[in-house]
Amino acid sequence: MSEEQIKDLEEQFEARIARDEKIEPKDWMPEKYRKTHIRQMSQHAHSEVVGMLPEGNWITRAPSLRRKVALLAKIQDEAGHGLYLYSACETLGISRDELYDQLHSGKAKYSSIFNYPTITWADMGAIGWLVDGAAIINQVPLCNTSFGPYARAMVRVCKEESFHQRQGYEIMIKLMQGTPEQKEMAQDALNRWWWPSLMMLGPIDAESVHTEQSMKWKLKRKSNDELRQQFIDQTVPQAELIGLTIPDPDLKWNDEKGCYDFGAIDWDEFWQVVKGHGPCNKERMNARVGAWERGEWVRDAAVAYAEKKANKNINKAV
């Protein structure tokens, strides 16, 4: 194809997106669109998969059967969300194996919030309430994104995600109705998860390199700073309602703007964790790669069994 023809196709493509038409896997698309989607969707899938690890830590120690079944169901949903997203990603011509390789080799990123440790039961509450809460704010606009398979996967993800946040908030409510130690535990979890949750919504707009292009392709509908403000405005009253204090001395309602002003975020910490120097980066990757390697013989055995069965059927037919 000549450069002019490609330019022509690109213009038609952008016009289709501007008209809110969906793009499906076999449609022509600019290489950059394909690459950006593989990057974002796989990053999203990896986050779901790695996100199971900090919570897996508490399955055997959940304080009641009710909490345990809820936590198990939440983690199972996360596995499911990872799978929806991986298969949506594969429609763009990348294999599952390549995607796993990218995660295991560190070439692909996942949400850096999962590199923080879960040291008390209250962390299950804080993660559900704050981390899933921030994820929902990020994800709801993606149900309308331009790439069909991604949008369809996100509709399913969002439908299932709201129980995750509620079960987390409920854990916090119960702790805040408990003993002084339990209250302290809930407050301590909020103290540790608040700032990383704000960072989860991404770098400030001025430093977000992909925002402009992503807005055009409807991979993003609101900027990181707008999403962060929305998260803060809806979460602060939820904290106050159950007697928790947001760990930000500069947090103050701004009557004029109709939203909260908040303190400076420590972006150095964010970039340190992104670059691999968070408290649990190594532990998470070791757990993930270890599980993959230890599972290899099971995957091979399943293939061998399937082949044996298939051969038996052929022999019977003969």
Partner: protein
């Protein structure tokens, strides 16, 4: 030698009376495993009463580049629609 699990497409009937609809895809070693995995991945909340799985490589799909010759001929055949035919207002039940 490393062999990857093939890709399967999953179709779910959400309730009797409705058709099976494409829900997504997954990897599995064989058809039985594909069905079991489909149950766990796509019907955790009573989304279905019946599942079909078919290996993705067995599906033949049309190419969007040929959409013109495939689908455009139908566009100028307005006489296939009831509104193409003029009837007097007095005619009922037609």
């Amino acid at each position: 030698m490393k062999k990857n699990w093939p890709l399967w497409e999953v179709f779910v009937r959400s309730k009797n009376g409705l058709e099976h609809r494409h829900f997504g895809s997954l990897h599995a070693a064989d058809a039985d495993m594909a069905l079991e995995n489909a149950r766990d991945v796509y019907t955790r909340r009573n989304e279905g009463v019946s599942i079909w799985v078919v290996e993705s490589k067995d599906i033949t799909a049309s190419n969007p580049e040929h959409n013109g010759e495939l689908f455009e001929p139908a566009q100028d055949k307005v006489y296939r629609h009831p509104t193409f035919y003029d009837l007097p207002d007095e005619v009922k039940y037609m």
